[in-house]
Symmetry: C2
Subunit: 625 residues, 2 copies
């Protein structure tokens, strides 16, 4: 098969053994590769009820099908696993150089299974695969670990590592890939549970493409399309937070102060602007970029710290982090956010989940539900930067009362604290919410409610469509209406699963849409696919992830929203008064399940699964209607 | 391309010219052939606003992709055209030997366009195509015409002809194919408007199949599957009306007396059974069978008349006709129904539409809305067989007041009569309803409301699923609920479009389901298709037909039900009290449009059309959301 490395590498850490399997051609035909293929393997190989931190769970790393081809922004790799945070299907996507390296080493997918008894490193150099001891690295932070590995194995290697949070099985811990993170759903804890500290990959082969000439043409074409697109300059100049001010002041959907507000009120009301708006801080702080592989429009903004850790450089903060460690904590200080971001990176914590969890703790503290004893003396008021920094450290190490309370995210923390603190615990299925106040973006509320990995903004990636009211061929979207959302969300979800399967950056969805891909896939693989085939691959993946969750007991009852979103309207700003009532949510679910071909209980029907050629899954979890 | 004849025959009657075109390979890839391909041609070639009886309309005859292969029950050909009855997309399906003959003559599709100025016959014998004068045949009945043609052109020819109704442009007229009828949506009038009296086809070539050995195996396999299926014996022994008694007494959904009842009350209440139940009449009347090509489970029941036209044989009556010319008219006499059926066949009238139209007239007459002057003296009471027979004749010839009133179906008749008679005119979009009292089969009500050709039971073919409560992988269907119907109906529709595209008899859907087809298509054509591809072909076709209608101005407002169904509950029997309220219908439409990816107004979204690779149609009719 042209365009593919042709092998799957399976590493069993219990047995300390690596095996190479042929990439099954019939599965490539059905799933193409990347996320979709990895998801099918996860479904088939991780049994119902498996302990996410136990030996039965697997961590599958799958570069997108078009990664490494030179096509611009085709840069993403997916990690799939059973999520210890949600108990369901876990997916974490990262713009890692390791995706390219793995393919060049000869593998389209890496399956890590079992559990080592002592800390290990997995080292892959083309055909050579070694499982090395890593006791000396255990305890080191994620960035330092990778620095050491690069010194040891040379500049040609790509690396990934967990930090102390992953080692300590924090359910909101991340895996760092040379300062790009696979962060969500507890991926770091899965790697930590396997005692796998790091991965080192070097690949030196060339992959053959079906039509190299055509591919060159396409690379040139798309580089130009991207260059000429109006969004590109803003993304490059100010990063993913470019629209923060618009989100806040035009839409009033920038959640702040643990979602007490949908509008970063304190900052704007006192100054008329916020310091965390990239238009304010990027010109002062940016010193470089750290692009994903083959990105020609890098949104990365590498920042040098001055106040907190002078001289230290950090890649970020992105829009999500400006929310979770900024507005959410009422910290109106870009460098402080970058500093907290840096701490998350070295500890190996998901910035979104960590920030939202601390935001919850700050609210609980201000309400008197958490005492100074609970916080180990930290004055966890909103806006307290040093307290937030210390809380992050304690979370990573499970240190003290507050570290133990917060290490596993806001769902566990609120369950432990009790006292109605769940009412302001901002998560869905355990995963903390991203930077979109969905009380004023109702289609997005549906998307978060149903997403298989919990409150994820990228499973549907529909925020832009909802907030602007149009995108691609969608028009007349009313973000404040709860009607007519089923197909809209379904389509976006299917398309985004395709993006992850191909490895396309979602910030290119204004250029590639759906129709950009058939010619790319053809030039690379020779597979003559049309748009209906591609969107079906996305739908197939989405149904596998749902089926995985259904097998674990998930259903309609789990497709819900945080209490605050359903019961407390946004108090101020352009979306003041908006909430998603329980009745509205039920209506959206009804429509969505019909669009999906699922039962009223949110279970995929046998008819839908079989017509996606997922007969085995239909047999296991499908229902009549 | 293996499995295909490879040519399209285009006959222009205005110019008296036939041309042969290569079957475009890229369109075969997208549509496979048959109904789906024909529909795309119709969409592209018949412009918006074209007069259905004018020169711009086309009549496209397309045998199913698997017709003529020897696979059992793969027997159906589709005719598509702009319907003069509905003003929308017209489809009429028939188990015609001509489908096989056309392929053997070298053509996968026949496009008839333009309009002759004098009556013509189209004669095709392999490469030879002639347009012959037919003034001598004009005025003759449909069966006699074909008898003459067979005498003239030999026994090897297959024939089709219209009767006087088609000549006189009755909007409910049919085309007869050797006593199998393409009847619905005014197909006879389209042929009549082109002054095309008949078609004669002889084909002597052999089509090569991709894997002849495998095909032989499959033929054997499926013959056995069909033979062993429990439904086969009942279908063969008693025909399609086999379940009439169950429909009536178990379900109470056998519409009678112009839908005043959902239960054939008079017959059962006096005798405990009805004479039109095939278990009563088949043993007495059947003298033979007239199977569709390659049918190994023929449901055809050829009957010899004794009372009305002694010695005459008629193929039928089917279940639909037992309703429309039986219960609907309160005629509890199987031979009388067969006699009226015979009259429809020779005149070239659709038995369903003709019967429902007369039923309406009988109700209007009994209510005093029609006088004896209006009926030309006919005593049009329910149950009057001779009056019904005479009405049919007058309709075919547009004779007298009653003939002119009824010739174009119940919608036109009620519009002409006025006086609230529309309230008991049983049609949707102009097409008269089939034999399922959808007040007690709510999913089926939705299917009829949305069907692109008006009230058609075969567009979704969901009656069995609804009435039994399960079918294939569907379970727990509640026929009296209006909830959770969107995906159910969409799936059935897509599948049935696939059946017509392949040429599969819908009475085989209990054997083939969806999964039977990939191996058939592969053996015949070499196309390695999976289930998702096949169901997408069906969905693609369905969206083309909808788009055709949208271009003509159809929208949500047209997806409605007859007044009686929404406002008068079934008065008696097992479904007593059931109706489909306007609110229930609106709810079902909401869910259905979401399942379809259409707007709230019932217009396909651009996103849906493009993801079906129908970019040109998206551009023309698609909407934002």
């Amino acid at each position: 098969m042209k365009g593919y490395a042709g092998k799957i590498l399976r590493v069993n850490l219990t047995e300390g053994k690596a095996t190479k399997e042929d990439l099954p051609e019939e599965l490539v035909k059905k799933f193409l590769g990347g996320l979709a293929l990895a998801s099918y393997y996860l479904y088939k190989e991780v049994p119902k009820g498996a302990d996410p931190l136990g030996e039965e769970n697997k961590l599958i790393f799958a570069p997108g099908v078009l990664v490494g081809t030179g096509l611009p922004t085709l840069s993403k790799s997916s990690l799939v696993f059973k999520s210890p945070l949600t108990g369901g299907f876990g997916r974490s996507v990262v713009g890692a150089k390791m995706g390219v390296a793995l393919k060049k080493a000869g593998y389209d997918m890496l399956i890590i299974e079992g559990k080592a008894d002592k800390p290990k490193i997995l080292r892959i150099k083309d055909d050579e695969v070694e499982i090395l001891d890593a006791e000396d690295l255990w305890g080191k932070d994620a960035l330092e670990t990778q620095k050491i590995l690069k010194e040891k194995f040379g500049k040609n290697v790509t690396t990934a590592a967990i930090g102390p949070a992953g080692e300590n099985l924090s359910l909101i811990s991340s895996v760092d890939f040379e300062e790009r993170q696979a962060a969500r759903a507890g991926v770091g804890a899965v790697m930590g549970s396997k005692k796998l500290k790091a991965i080192v990959v070097e690949g030196n082969r060339k992959i053959e493409y079906h039509d190299e000439e055509k591919l060159k043409e396409l690379i040139k074409k798309w580089i130009n399309v991207i260059k000429d697109h109006p969004a590109t300059k803003a993304d490059m100049d100010y990063g993913s937070g470019e629209f923060l001010d618009w989100m806040n002041r035009e839409r009033g959907t920038f959640p702040s102060r643990n979602w007490q507000w949908g509008y970063f009120q304190s900052a704007y009301d006192t100054k008329g602007y916020t310091e965390i708006d990239p238009y304010k801080w990027v010109p002062k702080l940016r010193v470089g970029r750290n692009p994903c592989p083959n990105c020609t429009k890098p949104c990365s903004q590498v920042v040098e710290l001055k106040k907190y850790k002078p001289g230290v450089k950090v890649d970020g903060p992105e829009y999500e982090t400006l929310y979770s460690l900024g507005g959410e904590l009422e910290i109106d200080d870009a460098e402080a956010v970058a500093y907290l971001n840096y701490l998350c990176d070295i500890y190996g914590l998901d910035t979104i989940s960590a920030g939202v969890t601390i935001g919850w703790a700050m609210e609980a503290y201000e309400r008197g539900l958490l005492t100074k004893e609970d916080t180990d003396g930290l004055d966890l008021r909103f806006g307290n930067i040093e307290a937030a920094a210390e809380a992050l450290r304690k979370m990573a190490y499970r240190e003290g009362n507050i570290g133990k309370l917060l290490a596993d995210g806001v769902k566990r923390a609120s369950e432990k604290l009790g006292k109605d603190s769940w009412k302001f615990a901002i998560h869905i299925k355990g995963l903390e919410l991203p930077a979109y106040d969905v009380r004023g973006i109702k289609g997005m509320a549906l998307a978060l409610a149903v997403s298989y990995r919990g409150a994820c903004h990228l499973t549907a990636g529909v925020y832009g469509t909802e907030l602007v009211g149009k995108w691609w061929k969608f028009e007349n979207i009313d973000r404040l209406s709860h009607e007519n959302k089923g197909f809209e969300i379904k389509f976006h979800e299917d398309l985004m699963q395709l993006y992850d399967t191909l490895g396309a950056c979602k910030f290119s969805r204004h250029m590639f849409f759906l129709e950009g891909f058939p010619e790319m896939v053809y030039a690379v693989t020779g597979l003559n696919v049309d748009k209906s085939y591609l969107i079906t691959v996305g739908e197939r993946m989405y149904n596998i992830a749902r089926a995985f969750n259904v097998r674990e007991g998930f259903s309609r009852k789990d497709d819900t929203l945080p209490w605050r979103i359903m019961h407390e309207p946004i108090p101020k700003g352009p979306s003041a008064g908006a909430r998603v009532s329980p009745k509205e949510l039920e209506h959206m679910l009804d429509e969505y399940y019909q669009a999906r071909g699922w039962s009223n209980e949110g279970i995929p029907t046998k008819a839908k699964l079989i017509s996606l050629d997922l007969d085995d899954i239909a047999e296991e979890v499908g229902v009549g209607i």
